[in-house]
Amino acid sequence: MNKSVYASPDQVSETKRHILTVLVDNEPGVLARVIGMFSGRGYNIDSLNVAEVSNDENISRITIVTHGTSEVVSQIEKQLLRIVPVHSVTNLDQEGSSVEAEVALVYIYISDTNKKKVYQLCDLYRARKIENENNTTIFEIAGASERVNRFIKEINEITKVEIVRSGPVAISSIKKNEEE
């Protein structure tokens, strides 16, 4: 339900995080249509990811993490489907089981005193050092958002870091008929 001033007080469901995956025609303006719907109607975007997934058919997959009551999220799904270039909208939480992952690149300020601790922690989390021309210490960590959160929290306790995160992407892990 919309957060209108006319809102009905009988909303009972709690606010939850939802991952929506939206298949769209890869045409100019399509991302603006999607995010414009969110801002225009007052919905939240926690993170957003977009990339072309099928070259021949010119289709992109947008992964949006949002939060809201089930009424709000169901309204978001329906509003997304009204957008002409949208093929489908899937709420991965509703489907039950899905796999999600995100990537973070972490620039770590290393000194002699913290070097050992940093490498130990990176080993523990299987964060991979990325070689680069300037020989700076940049690590890549991929996985579920919670795991990335924990790594960032712990590395922050050791030293100063600079972080960029992709936000999660997700895919349904349920077997589809055609694959069986």
Partner: protein, 588 residues
């Protein structure tokens, strides 16, 4: 290649193949190639408006009165920004429009060129879909898709932005039937759509003791056949029916089942019946806030069936029990056949009790007003207009405000597509250009814009258009020198402080009409009223009838914002309790 033509020619050829007869527009630098092509042909008529905002409302009026798609042609920059209000209006009221805008040549896009603006960016939230066409060879397929999208599913406005270099470039034209539109871009119900839901709904109706049909503009958008089927089904059930502002005319006002309009200024009996019904059948309406009033007190004890072509309207503000996604005529046709097949019959005893109750509410006579004195009451003016035009094929448009509500209450509509008003967006200035569009679509019909003195000034420049094309549109101004609805709210909610709602220095509307070479008439007293209306109807020219009405009349009944259907105000004396009035004040 020899069969190549210019982009501008492709535009005209696409319009012709789509069956477009008339375009409402205004030329400018970025659409000159299209206007040049327009000059060289005779199949498509162009109506030159006096401001682009007038063009799009005229196209809306044309579309809603004819059922065809309205077409608008304007230039880049200010041409495009001036149609934004109309696009939003068409979006809210689901009117099929194709709007063509010129754009600066591609090499200038992004350079802040003269009359450049990000048209597709600006209009993205107020169109169903829009295009910036960069390749002349895609122009015809874009046009054919645009017309389909504008009409398909829930109709709406579609905008096509064409850079000037694309209008000059040469390319090939593709015919309509060669264009394949992927199914995900359209609404296409499967043949067996919603079968179980429809059966469930019909069974629910058959068991109802206190049913009510709640009819919206979707029934009109579904075409005249939808109205026929809806009437047939309601007659079979024997149920009362109420209509939204946009749904007026789906069921005739004189139909024995009709309770008239519901909502904020709707009929007492309609709102009470909505409040107390046990089964509500919403066909093509969207539980708009003007209709529902306070949501937590909206029809608390009913099972609700909701038929809508747009799934996003389901459970948006009101949770329903049986949602059905589909086109009204298809769904109602199925409902009728199921009703007949299963030989359903509603319990006549309970239905009689229900009608008895409704007839008691009717006795309150919620539209009654004090009609003493020589001064013309606005309600009386609309009543007389109705009486003197009811035997003529008449289209009524309105602006927005008190006069709009009085028109909805006192003008009786017997057929769909005869009533054109800005419902969702509430656009003052809609009615006059919409009347021009309706008159273009129906040259022999009587078209009356019931207007207010404030609203009419918002697009008064279109007088020049009406006179140029000899469109005998009648403007019927209920002149109270106030922005009446603003004044009414200030009286009821803001301690009678009439902040900026009085219009000083109004023009002399009779002289104004004459200055445009139209006819101006005036009625100051009830004695003059009928003569003025008759003369207005008989004049074969554009007419402004300036009807001086009592200045501080309020529009009742009224459900104040934040109140429920059973908390209607019937008159000014009936004060709302202060607490809910304070709560309602923050609402619109």
């Amino acid at each position: 290649m020899n069969n190549e033509i210019t982009g501008a020619e492709i535009v005209l050829k696409s319009l012709a193949e789509q069956g477009v007869e008339v375009v409402f527009g205004y030329p400018g630098g970025a659409v000159l190639p299209i206007y040049d092509t327009l000059f060289k042909q005779n199949s498509i008529k162009h109506v030159l408006v006096r401001q682009e905002g007038g063009a799009i409302h005229a196209a809306e009026g044309y579309a809603r009165s004819t059922g065809k798609t309205g077409v608008v042609l304007v230039t880049s920059g200010p041409g495009a920004t001036n149609v934004v209000t109309g696009l939003t209006d068409a979006m809210m009221d689901s009117v099929p429009i194709v709007c063509i805008t010129g754009q600066v040549p591609q090499h200038l896009i992004g350079s802040d060129a003269f009359q450049e603006c990000d048209t597709t960016g600006i209009t993205r939230p107020c169109t169903k879909h829009n295009y910036l066409v960069k390749d002349v060879n895609k122009l015809s397929s874009v046009f054919h898709e645009a017309f389909t999208i504008a009409q398909n599913g829930r109709p709406g406005p579609v905008l096509i932005d064409i850079p000037k270099d694309v209008q000059f470039a040469s390319g090939t034209y593709e015919e309509k039937n060669k264009i394949i539109i992927p199914s995900h871009r359209l609404f296409e119900p499967s043949p067996d759509f919603e079968k179980n839901k429809i059966e469930e709904a019909v069974e629910l109706i058959s068991k109802a003791k206190k049913p009510i049909f709640y009819i919206g503009g979707g029934c009109i958008n579904s075409g005249p056949r939808a109205s026929k089927l809806v009437r047939e089904f309601i007659n079979m059930v024997g149920s009362p029916v109420t209509m939204t502002l946009m749904g007026l005319g789906v069921v005739g006002s004189s139909d024995k089942n009709s309770l008239g309009m519901l909502g904020m200024h709707g009929m007492y009996e309609a709102n009470m019946a909505m409040h107390e019904c046990d089964v509500m059948i919403n066909i093509g309406a969207r539980f708009d806030d003007r209709v529902t009033g306070r949501l937590d007190a909206f029809s608390p004890n009913s099972k609700k069936i909701h038929i809508d072509i747009d799934e996003s309207n389901i459970n948006k503000t009101i949770n329903v029990d049986v949602p059905i996604i589909g086109d009204v005529k298809q769904v109602v046709e199925k409902m009728i056949s199921i009703w007949k097949e299963k030989k359903y019959k509603i319990d006549t005893d309970s239905l009689k009790l229900w009608w008895d109750k409704i007839n008691k509410w009717k006795e309150i006579d919620c539209l009654s007003y004090n009609n003493e004195g020589k001064q013309i009451k606005p309600q009386y003016a609309v009543q007389r207009l109705y009486e003197l035009t009811k035997n003529t094929k008449t289209f009524v448009t309105t602006e927005v405000g008190q006069h709009q509500m009085w028109a909805a209450q006192f003008y009786k509509f017997e057929e769909p597509n005869r009533w054109l008003t800005s419902g969702g967006l509430g656009t003052m200035g809609y009615g006059f250009p919409a009347a021009i569009g309706a008159q273009v679509g129906h040259p022999d019909a009587l078209v009356v814009d019931i207007a207010g003195d404030a609203s009419i000034l918002m697009n008064i420049q279109e007088m020049s258009t009406a006179v140029q094309y000899r469109l005998p549109v009648k403007i019927f101004i209920l002149n109270n020198e106030y922005m009446g609805m603003v004044r009414q709210w200030q009286e009821l909610l803001h301690g009678g402080r009439y902040s900026e709602s009085y219009t000083d220095s109004l023009p002399d509307f009779v002289k104004l009409a004459e200055s445009y070479k139209a006819v101006g008439l005036r009625a100051k007293t009830t004695e003059e009223l009928d003569d003025v209306i008759t003369e207005m109807i008989e004049t074969k020219n554009t007419v402004i009838a300036d009807i001086w009405v009592t200045k501080e009349e309020n529009c009742f009944p009224m459900i104040q914002s934040g109140s429920a259907h059973n908390e209607m105000m019937l008159s000014k004396d009936q004060k709302q309790d202060k607490k809910s009035a304070e709560k309602g004040k923050i609402l619109v």
